[in-house]
Structures are given as C-alpha cells and as structure tokens.
C-alpha cells in the first residue's frame, strides 16, 4: 500500500515522467485503480484473451459495486465469493480435471495389475499380498505410489500456475484492480490450491477404495503390525491418511505458490517445484545425508503409513503435520513478502 501512496504524488505532479517510467506507472495502476490514462491501452487487447473471458462471470458482482457502504460483512462475503469463483475456475479448467482423472485411473490400473498378478501365490511381497487379501489396502498402496511424484506434479501445476499464470496472461493487474487487496488475493489463491490438493487426495482414495471393493474381498483389515482391525476402523484410518496426505500436498502447494510469486512464467514455477521434489527424493536416497532427511518436505510424504501400525504412531503423524505447518508458514510468508511488494508490470 505504501508503494501506491508514494507513487501517486509523482503521478499527479509530473505526468510526463510517469509516461516514461513504466514500472512506477504499473505499480500505481495495479494498487490504486483510478481513471488513469494508462489503463485504457492495456485493457483493449486483454479483453480478448481467454483469461478475461473466463473471468467475466465474476465481474457483475453486487458486493464489488457496493463499495464501502457496509464494510465488514460485505468484505467477508467478497472473500468467499472470490474464493468461490477461483474454485469454479480451477475445477472447470479442463487441464485440472484431466489431471484429477489421471489420478483416478492410476489406482484402477494398479488394482487390475495386482489382481492379475496375485493369482499364483508364490514369492509375492507382503504389501501386494495384503492388497490381494483386502480391498482397503489398495488405498494405502496407491498412496505410497502416487505420493512420490504424480500427486506432487498435479498439485504444483495448480499452485505454481496460481500467480505466475495470471501474470503471464496479463490478468493479474485486473484482479488487483478490484479493491480486494493483495494479501486477500494471495490467501484466496492459496486456499484454492490447498482445496485442490485435498480434492486430488480424495480422488485417489475414493478411486482406489471403489476399485478395491470391486476387485478384492472386503472384510477386516490386516495392519503392518500383524493386527487385524474391523472394516469400519479401516475406513477411519483411511480418512486419517487422507487428512495427512492432503496436508502434505497443501504444504507443497505453499512452496509452489511462493515460487509462482517470483515469476511470470507459470511453467517455470511448476518445473522448479518438481525439481525441488525430485532433488529431495535423491537426497533421501543417499545414506550419508541421513542427518538432513527429516527436514526435507518429501521425506514426510510417506509417513502416512503410521496409521497402519498397531497402536497408530501418532508421534510420527504429529511430527509430519508440524513439518507441514512450518513449510506452509515459511513459504506462505515468502510468497506474501514477494507478492505484496511486487511491481505488477504485465
């Protein structure tokens, strides 16, 4: 906000310098919307892009037009409306739906492959044997596969695109033109990504649960500790695992969002997030670096198997959640520091 205030006087006193210095002008337009002469030339080409075409349903909102008449409830309402429209955009976007359907298909493929393999009963690993023995186990098996790469890819595409995509398409300045505030916009973008992360986790869980129920016998579930629990309790444990994995993906979304605030090329933020994930997986595989492993985010992704121990290893889950909270706080604040002070020039 201080940038806008410091920039405005210079704008009024010397319009000539303003025209020659695009960055200052850009900031002013973005944070302090007004009938400035610079907005019109930018608006004309942009109205024709797809990004703005998609955003049109949001424009005729009554809350926006109402302005400062009833500040508090209206603003809160505006926040949820903004989130709602953001979610609508995310979940209507064909790319995002395609990624969700890939996540849904992979457990089905795993399930079919296992049901074909597990027919002859010799020399099969424990996990596969327990999948064949119980339908619920497929969920955990699918998680242990997907949580390493495919789910991080999905989440970082959405979160890495959140700011950089808007900036790249030239729609970010118009989003900020609304009296929404950058912090609020960032919060909406993050919540949107986190909800998508949970949706991706739930899609994997539901798909593998349904596949498991169709292909494998239902009934009491055998835990890794060799203890058997009822199916209802097994479902509860799946719910706990979904909560944990979703939080893990939401933490990764915070990293991707922070990277997204630094660039206008969304593929850059997405690729950088994926590089980080892969590098962390490589570092985990080196035994000499065991010391730093507990601090790496992807090292915590697979800890959901704590729900499969005989007394649930709450300590491991709790440690993991603390690590996720730390990552969300750190990268969320980095994203905020960068985004709230950024010159929006495109």
């Amino acid at each position: 906000m201080s940038t806008a205030e410091s920039a405005t006087p210079s704008r009024t006193t010397s319009p000539a310098t303003e025209a020659t210095t695009p960055p200052a002008g850009g900031t002013a337009t973005a944070t302090a919307p007004g009938p400035g002469p610079r907005r019109t030339p930018g608006l004309v080409p942009v109205t024709e892009t797809r990004g703005t075409a998609e955003r049109t349903p949001r424009e005729p909102e009554p809350g926006r037009a109402g302005g400062p008449a009833a500040p508090l409830p209206r603003r809160a309402g505006a926040f949820w409306r903004l989130l709602g429209s953001e979610l609508g955009l995310t979940f209507r976007r064909p790319r995002n739906l395609l990624m969700l359907s890939v996540l849904a298909i992979v457990p089905i493929i795993i399930g079919i492959a296992l049901s074909l393999v597990s027919a002859p009963d010799d020399g099969i690993g424990g996990v596969i044997a327990s999948v064949a023995g119980n339908s619920l186990m497929l969920t955990f098996f699918a998680f242990s596969f997907l949580v390493l790469l495919l789910m991080p890819v999905t989440v970082s595409v959405v979160a890495g695109d959140a700011l950089a995509g808007e900036a790249g398409a030239g729609t970010l300045r118009y989003l900020l033109a609304a009296p929404a505030g950058r912090t609020r916009l960032l919060l909406v973008k993050y919540l949107n990504a986190a909800i998508y992360a949970y949706a991706a986790t739930a899609v994997v869980a539901l798909s593998s649960l349904l596949t498991g129920l169709v292909l494998f016998p239902a009934g009491p579930l055998t835990l890794l500790s060799g203890t058997t629990i009822s199916m209802g309790e097994g479902l509860v444990r799946i719910a706990v695992a979904v909560g944990y994995v979703g939080a893990a993906m939401a933490a990764l979304a915070a990293v991707a969002l922070a990277l997204s605030a630094f660039t206008e090329v969304s593929i850059g933020a997405i690729a950088a997030t994926m590089v980080l994930v892969v590098v962390c997986q490589v570092l985990r595989a080196i035994p000499e670096l065991d010391v730093i492993t507990p601090y790496l985010l992807p090292a915590r992704f697979t800890d959901f198997d704590a729900v499969l121990r005989a007394p649930i290893d709450w300590a491991a889950l709790w440690d993991g959640l603390l690590a996720f909270a730390a990552y969300i706080a750190l990268f969320g604040s980095i994203a905020w520091a960068r985004f709230s002070g950024k010159d929006i020039t495109s």
């Binding site: 201080s2 940038t3 410091s6 690993g125 424990g126 996990v127 044997a129 327990s130 023995g133 955990f140 242990s144 009491p220 055998t222 890794l224 500790s225 060799g226 203890t227 058997t228 035994p287 065991d290 601090y295 697979t302 198997d305 499969l308 121990r309 005989a310 007394p311 290893d313 300590a315 730390a326 706080a329 750190l330 604040s333 980095i334 905020w336 520091a337 709230s340 002070g341």
Partner: protein, 381 residues
C-alpha cells in the same frame, strides 16, 4: 518503498527464525535451564542402588519407548551396506536405526522395527513368542521351553546370597580398577530424563576406546543408553539408547498376537531336548576346535583375539553364497592396507573402534586396539 521491502521480508525471516528456534528449542531450553543435577553418588553407591532397584521383586518397571541405535564406526565405504535390507543385521553397522519397545513384565515384551510400509515384530508373551514380518507376510511361532528370557536381564551383578548389593558393587569395582577408571556424571540427560552416567575409561593407552558411558535412569536405575567413544572423536562411534521413554505399563494388546488371516504361519521350536543336545554337541566340538587354535593376547581393554583364518576358504564360501556377504567382504578387503614387520606380513583393516589384522600365515587378529598394538600382538607366537 525500500523500508517497506525490509519490513515485508522481515516476516519470512522471522518465520524462519521461529521455525529454527522450534527445531533447536530442546537443546536451547536445556542449556538455559541448566543441566539436571541428581544427588551426587559414587560409582559404588550407584551400582549398589542399581542392583538393589533392579534386583528386587518386579525387577525393571513396565516401560515403553523408542530405541535408536547409531553406529559410525568409520568403516571403509560399504556400498553393500546401504543396499542391504533394513532388517539385515549387516545394516546395523552403519547409519542409524530405530525400534519401538514395549516392556510389560519379565515375560512380556514387544519389539517392533517399523520401516516404510513394512514392519517386523517380535512379541514375547509368557512361554510363547511370535516373529512377524509384514514384508513376507509370515508369522513365525517360536516355542521356547523355558520362559523366554527377555532382553533386559537384571543387572549383571553376582547373585550370591551372602553378598549385599553394596559388597557386590565393591567387588566389581575392585576388579575393574586394574584396567579401568570409573567415574560418575550426575548432570546428563537421556530421552528427557535425568540420568547418572557411569563412565568407564581404559587406563591402557593402546586401546582405541576413549570411554564407555552407561546411562542409568536417575529414578528407576534402568539402563537407558550405552555410548562407546573412540579415541579422538567427540561423537560416539556406537550408541544405543532410548530417544523417548515412558515408565507406564503398556496396553495389553501389545503383547497378544494372532496371526492374521492369509498370512503364512511357520513353527520354529527352539531347544528341543534331544535335537538341541545333539546340535549343542556339534557346536561344542567345533567351538573346541576353534578354541584350541584360537588364543588371546593381552588383557583388559587391549585384549587381542587371534584366530586361525584362511582367507581363500572364506572368499570361496562367500562368493558361493553370494549376496551382500561377498560384496561386504570384497569392499572390506579392498580397503585393507598391506603391512609387514618382523612378525611377517599381512593386511590391516582399521576402523575407529576395531582393528583387524589378517596375516599371510593364516591368522586373524581382532581387537579394539591401535594398529601398533595389534602388530605387537602378531609378534607374540
């Protein structure tokens, strides 16, 4: 603008500081609040109290916790070790490992080793013992004739009835005094509990061991940690101990095990009278053979064991069996340095804690001693 930037970036920096402080909070709080101080005790008093506490009715109190074992023996780089499965005993030689322990009574014990999407369990309840391995989906029932001896046996103090714990401790220390300096630290902490540390340091300069520290819980006198420090290193070369411990009786479910449906169930009986006797005889025979040829040079901390050893035999056997044993042997032999002296010549393998000498005339010398010491032992025929 510039000031705003500083203020803004102060937020993530503060967040990082808070997270860093939270990670380092344990040591910091410990440093601020000062070391826990237990009443001072001499080694003799400590041993006597420990013997009295663990030797009495009930023995070790019910407890559960997480035990971590860390070894950095400075072994030559062992690629085989990192590939070896986590449950392989060889993997214990490097890196760190964690097991969870539930101890209910002398005949109720559960030890679990969780690995990613797998778990191995040893459950002892009464005369019955189960070994469960989720990786192979196998439950092995181990029947033991006598009540299974738990891993935590009461303190190894001579149980002569006419000896009070006080006298036993006195005698033990008198024996140790010849080679060892014993002192007690009362300001240490293990797993958040104040402990007494019994520090044993060898008097002999030829030993590679700097000191051995045994931590006894300040309240229950249960051994909580054992550390072995090598000469000239601040970090323990070998350490096993609790990272988390509670002295409350664990839930009874921990000690009951029913093989899950669909699992392979195997029976494994230990110590069947005749068979075991026959085996024992065979073993005794072989042991006698080896013992006849093996001997011990030196005493106390600088003891060196000398065993007849034919390298070609072992290499042939290992390569026949294949697997990690052969790989390990290869990498160890590759790192050995050739040495020679008036005693002959051989290959020297030295680690932080143990030195081994493989002489060309077919002897293997092993001891926790310096290379000089071991070559001197090689000279003793």
């Amino acid at each position: 603008m510039r000031r705003g930037t500083f203020v803004r970036w102060g937020v993530p920096i503060a967040a990082a500081a808070v997270i860093g402080a939270a990670i380092g909070a344990g040591p910091v709080i410990a440093a601020v609040s000062g070391d826990p101080v237990l009443p001072e005790r001499s080694a003799e008093q400590l041993l006597a109290d420990a013997a009295a506490a663990t030797g009495k009715e009930g023995g070790i109190p019910p407890m559960s916790g997480t035990v971590q074992q860390t070894a950095s023996l400075g072994l030559p780089s062992l690629p085989a070790l990192s590939q070896a499965g986590a449950s392989s005993p060889l993997s214990l030689l490097s890196g760190s490992h964690e097991v969870k322990v539930w101890y209910g009574a002398a005949d109720k014990l559960r030890v679990a080793m969780p690995t990613q999407m797998n778990e191995t369990n040893l459950i002892i309840n009464g005369g019955e013992a189960w070994y469960w391995d989720s990786a192979t989906n196998t439950a092995t029932r181990v029947s033991v004739k006598a009540p299974a001896a738990p891993t935590h046996t009461p303190a190894p103090v001579p149980q002569t009835p006419d000896l009070t714990p006080q006298q036993a401790a006195e005698r033990l220390l008198a024996q140790a005094d010849e080679h060892t300096t014993v002192r007690v630290i009362n300001t240490a902490e293990v797993a958040g509990r104040p402990v007494y540390q019994l520090v044993l340091s060898p008097k002999d300069a030829g030993s590679l061991v700097q000191e051995v520290r045994i931590a006894l819980d300040g309240e229950t006198y249960v051994p909580l940690q054992v550390q072995v420090f090598a000469k000239g290193s601040a970090e323990p070369a070998f350490q096993i101990g609790f990272t988390q411990v509670t002295f409350t009786p664990p839930a009874a479910e921990n000690f009951t095990f029913t093989p899950p449906a669909g699992a392979k169930v195997e029976e494994n009986t230990l110590a069947l009278p005749e068979e075991a006797g026959r085996h024992a005889e065979e073993h005794a025979e072989r042991a006698k053979d080896v013992a006849g040829e093996a001997k011990v040079v030196g005493d106390g901390w600088t003891t060196v064991a000398v065993v007849p050893f034919d390298l070609n035999d072992v290499t042939a056997q290992a390569s026949q069996e294949g697997g990690e044993g052969a790989a390990l042997l290869d990498s160890v032999l590759a790192s050995a340095t050739p040495v020679s002296g008036p005693w002959g010549s051989g290959k020297l393998i030295s680690t932080k804690l143990v030195t081994a000498l493989l002489t060309d005339d077919g002897r293997l010398l092993v001891g926790a001693v310096t290379p000089e010491e071991i070559t001197r032992a090689a000279g003793v025929k």
